[in-house]
Amino acid sequence: MSIPSPNNQRSRAAEPKLIFESGSVGRSALFWPPEPGKVEDVIPPALLRDDIASFPELGELEVLRHFTRLSQRNFAIESQFYPLGSCTMKYNPKINEVVARFPGFAQAHPLAPAELLQGALALLYELEGMLAEISGMEHVSLQPSAGAQGELTGLMLIRACLTERGDARQKIIVPDTAHGTNPASSTLCGYDVVQISSNEQGVIDTAAVAKAMDERVAALMITNPNTLGLFETNIEAIAEIVHAKGGMVYLDGANLNALMGIAKPGHMGVDVLHLNLHKTFSTPHGGGGPGAGPIAVKRGLADFLPVPRIVKRGDQFELQESCPKSVGRVRSFFGNFGVLVRAYTYIVSLGSDGLEEASRMALLNANYVRKKLEKSYHIAYHEPCMHECIFTDRMQQRSGVSTLDIAKRLLDYGHHPPTIYFPLVVSGALMIEPTETETPETLDSFIDAMLAIAAEAKDDPDLVKNAPYSTPVRRLDEARAARKPVLRWEAPAKEGKAKN
C-alpha cells in the first residue's frame, strides 16, 4: 500500500473566508416587512446615503456558521489552561452570565426615572460598599470602564484635590515594574512621569522613594503585589514618605486577587486605588473587554468622585448629580453595568470566606508551579511569590531558545502561554498566574509540558524555535503587518462582493 504523501493527508477544509467574501447580493438574515410610508417624504433625500458598498449579505445560518467556526480558532479559559500573568484568568461562573441577562438588568434604560431603576441602583450601591470593605477604603465609584480608566480617574481626583489645596503639582512617581497603563495614565492626566527602579529583591525600597519624592510630586503609583508577583513589603513606610511631602499614594489594585483576607490596601496608607473586576471578580475578559475599573478612595477624596453619586434616602436610592468638587464624568451613564452585575453576583456567591479562600488558593497554585519549575527555568527573583511567579529564558537561551519560542511550543501542548516579556525589568520574562480555580492536576500537566519543552530546548532546539505546528495558523509575520498595515478588507473590484 502506497504511503499517502503527508501533504495530501492534511485537512482539505477551506480556510475561513472573511464575512465580506461570502454571501450573495440581496441576501439578509433580517425578516421585517416594509413600513408604510416613504422615508423621502419625511427626510430630505439629499441627506440620505446610497447602499453601503460591499456590506455583508448573508443568511442566518451562514452568519452563525461563520462565527462558530471562527470561535473554534480561539483558546479560552473554558477549553484551555490560560495562566496569563497579571491577567487573573480565573473561571467565569455561568450563573453570572445567566443573571446579567435577566431582562430587568439587560433591558434597563439608564435615563429612566430613578424610581423605575431601584433594583439596579440598589445593586450599585451595595457593590460600592462591598468593594470598599474588601479593599479597606471608604468610598467607591463604579464608573470607570476598565483599569486604565480607573487610573486616569484616580489621578484626576488627586489632581483636583491638590489643586484645591493650591497646587496640582507636576510629577507622578512610577516604578519600573509598573504596568504600561500607569505611566500612560499619568501623562493623560497632565503629569510628568518619574520612573524609579525596584531593588534586587524586586521591590521598591524607601530610599528610592525618598530620593525621588519632593513637593513637585503629586503622587506615587504603586502596584501591590507588584507585577513581579512580589509583595511590596515597604509600602507602609513608603506611604509615610510620600505623605510627609504632601503627596498621595495611588495603588494599582489589578493584583487584588493576591490580597483578599491577607492585606487590605486601605491599611497600607493608600489614598486612591482602582480594582479590575474582570480579574479579581471573575467577569469574563471577552477577548479584550468589557471590564470594569472601579476606584476606591479615603474619605478626604470623596467629594471629588465622578458624578452621578448614588445616595440612599430612607429605602429609596437617588442620583446626586451636582457635586461641585467632582472631577465630572469619565464616561457615559453608570459604567459597564452588566460587568458590575457579574461582579456583584460573584461577591455574594463567595462571601467573605469564599473570597479569602480564593486568594489563599491563588497563592498556593502560584507557589506550587514556581517550586516545580525552579530547577528547569531560571527564576527571576527568589523572594516568596504571591499569586504569580516569574521565570526567564536564561537557561534555554544557551541553546538559542527564547521565551517566545517556549510560549509558541506550549501551544502544541494545548496550554495557553504565560504573559511574556513583561515586566520589562526582567529580560525574557515568563509570568505565570495560574489563579485559584485551577486544579493541581491541571497545574501538573502544564508543569509537565514546561519540563518537556525545557528538554526539547536542549535536545532539539529547532523543534521549539519553529513551533507551533498544531495551531490553525503558524507563526505570523508581525513585521509585515506593521510595515504596510492592512487594517480593513477592501472590495477587489468595483462593488466586487466575492461570489464564490
Binding site: 479559559i77 497632565g190 477577548g287 455574594v348 492592512v486
Partner: protein, 448 residues
C-alpha cells in the same frame, strides 16, 4: 459558592511539595500590621439557587419595555437584537479568552475584529477604524486628544456644539481639564435644533484645534456636516463627528462623505443590550493619514510562515504596553465582546436589513410626531430634520410625566437638568420596538 477545587488533601500535597506547613506560611512576609486586620467583613457565601433568587428580586425592581412603554433614547436605544447575536457571543471561546496576545490561538477574535474594523469603515464611510474603545463619550474625548497630537501647539481651542450629548460634553471636559494648554468652548444651537453654523464660524480661528458635533445630535436633529466642514476647513480646524445612534448611518450620508477628520460614536444600537448604558462600545474611525496617531488597538492582516492568511494586533508602538508614558492613549482592556456582538448584528442585518430597520425608525418616529402634534398639550420644539428622536415642548412637563407614569408610560427624557433654557421640553424617542398601539396609547394619554 466555591470555585476553588482544592480538597484538604490537595492542599497538603501541594504544601508538602512547596516545603511549607501551612497556607498562612505562603504570605509570612506580609507585615503583621496588615495581615492582622485583613479579615473581610461581609456575609458568608450563598448557594447558586439563593444567589439567583436574590438577583432576580433586584432585577424585578427595574422597569423595562416588557411592562412599560418607554420612549427613551438619549444615547441608549431599544432596538431589536436577533437571538443569533447572543448565541454567538456566549460561546466561551469568545467570552472567556483574553486580549489576543497569542495570535496563533486567537484567530477567532482577531478575524472578527478585522471584520468589525471594516464594517465600521463601511458604516461611517471612513478609511480606518480601531478595534473599539470604551464608549461613545470617551471616544469623543479620545478624538479630541488625537486632534491634539495632530494639530500644531498653536491650536489648542476645542469647539463643542451645545447640541452634543450633555454627558459626552462632560466627559470631553473632564479629559481635557487635566491638560493645561487646552481650552474648551461651547457653540450654541439654533431654532432648528442644529448647531448654529453662523456662531460656529464666528468662533473659529487660527487657534481652533477641532470642532465636535453630534450626528445626529442630542435632539435627534441631523446636523449640516457639509456646512460645518466648510467652516472648519476655512479655519484649519479638524472636524470630529460624534454619533450616538449609529443605526442612523444605515440611512444617512456617512460622516466620511463630508470628509470629517475623525468619526466616533456609541455602538450600543448595533446589537448590544441597553443594560443601563453599559457595557457597549465606542467606535473610532478616521482618515488613513492619521492612523499612527490613533488610540486603541488595531488588527491587521498578515500571513504565517506557510503563507496562510492570518490576523495580528499591529501598530502596537502607539500603545501603553510598549510606549508607556508616550502612548497615544492609556487604554488597555477595551470592549471587544460587545464589538463582536455588533459585528454579528451587522452581518445578520446586512446591507438591506440595516437600511430597513433604519427606515422603520424614521417612519415610526415621524408618524408618532404627526399624531402627537394633534395633542394640544405638546408642540414640536425644533424644526430640523431628525432620525428617530425629537423634542417636544409642554406647559407642565412634570404634570405630564406624572400623568403618563400612572399609565406605565415614560414619554421621554426631561431636558430641564441639562438644558435650563429647555426647562419645558423633553426628548422623545421612537424605534422599531415601539408598536403602533404603544404610540396611540401615548397620544391618548397626552390628549386626555
Amino acid at each position: 459558592m466555591r470555585y476553588t477545587p482544592h480538597t484538604a488533601a490537595d492542599q497538603e500535597r501541594m504544601l508538602r511539595t512547596i516545603g511549607l506547613d501551612s497556607i498562612e506560611a505562603l504570605y509570612r512576609h506580609v507585615p503583621a500590621t496588615l495581615c492582622g486586620r485583613a479579615k473581610i467583613n461581609l456575609p458568608e457565601g450563598l448557594t447558586e439557587l439563593t444567589v439567583r433568587k436574590r438577583l432576580a428580586a433586584l432585577a424585578s425592581r427595574n422597569a423595562t419595555n416588557l411592562d412599560w412603554s418607554l420612549f427613551l433614547g438619549g444615547g441608549i436605544y431599544n432596538h431589536f437584537i436577533p437571538s443569533a447575536v447572543d448565541a454567538t457571543i456566549s460561546r466561551s471561546e469568545f467570552s472567556t479568552s483574553y486580549t489576543p496576545y497569542q495570535p496563533e490561538v486567537s484567530q477567532g477574535t482577531l478575524q472578527a475584529l478585522f471584520e468589525y474594523q471594516t464594517l465600521i469603515c463601511q458604516l461611517t464611510g471612513m478609511e480606518v477604524a480601531n478595534a473599539a474603545v470604551y464608549d461613545g463619550a470617551s471616544a469623543a474625548a479620545e478624538a479630541a486628544l488625537m486632534s491634539r497630537r495632530i494639530q500644531p501647539e498653536s491650536r489648542r481651542r476645542v469647539l463643542m456644539s451645545r447640541a452634543l450629548h450633555p454627558q459626552y460634553r462632560a466627559v470631553v471636559a473632564a479629559y481635557l481639564q487635566n491638560l493645561n494648554d487646552m481650552q474648551l468652548e461651547e457653540v450654541p444651537f439654533d431654532a432648528s435644533g442644529a448647531t448654529d453654523v453662523e456662531a460656529l464660524s464666528r468662533r473659529l480661528n487660527d487657534q481652533s484645534m477641532c470642532v465636535l458635533v453630534g450626528y445626529p445630535n442630542f435632539f435627534g436633529v441631523i446636523e449640516d456636516l457639509a456646512a460645518i466642514k466648510t467652516a472648519c476647513i476655512k479655519a484649519g480646524a479638524q472636524l470630529i463627528s460624534v454619533t450616538t445612534e449609529p443605526l442612523a448611518l444605515g440611512l444617512l450620508k456617512p460622516p466620511g462623505e463630508f470628509a470629517v477628520d475623525i468619526a466616533v460614536g456609541e455602538g450600543q444600537s448595533l446589537g448590544v443590550p441597553m443594560s443601563l448604558g453599559g457595557p457597549a462600545f465606542g467606535f473610532f474611525a478616521c482618515q488613513k493619514k492619521f492612523v499612527r496617531s490613533m488610540p486603541g488597538r488595531l488588527v491587521g492582516e498578515t500571513v504565517d510562515i506557510e503563507g496562510r492568511r492570518g490576523f495580528v494586533l499591529t501598530l502596537a508602538t502607539r500603545e501603553q504596553h510598549i510606549r508607556r508614558e508616550k502612548a497615544t492613549s492609556n487604554i488597555c482592556t477595551s470592549q471587544t465582546l460587545c464589538a463582536l456582538g455588533a459585528t454579528v448584528f451587522m452581518s445578520l442585518l446586512g446591507k438591506s436589513g440595516l437600511r430597513r430597520v433604519a427606515e422603520v425608525n424614521v417612519l415610526r418616529a415621524h408618524d408618532a410626531l404627526s399624531k402627537l402634534r394633534q395633542c394640544a398639550t405638546v408642540e414640536l420644539a425644533f424644526n430640523g430634520p431628525f432620525f428617530n428622536e425629537f423634542v417636544l415642548r409642554s406647559a407642565d412637563v412634570e404634570r405630564l410625566f406624572a400623568h403618563c407614569a400612572a399609565k406605565k408610560i415614560v414619554p421621554g427624557i426631561s431636558l430641564e437638568k441639562d438644558y435650563p433654557e429647555l426647562r419645558d421640553c423633553f426628548l422623545v424617542c421612537v424605534t422599531e420596538m415601539n408598536e403602533r398601539e404603544e404610540i396611540e396609547r401615548l397620544v391618548d394619554t397626552l390628549t386626555e
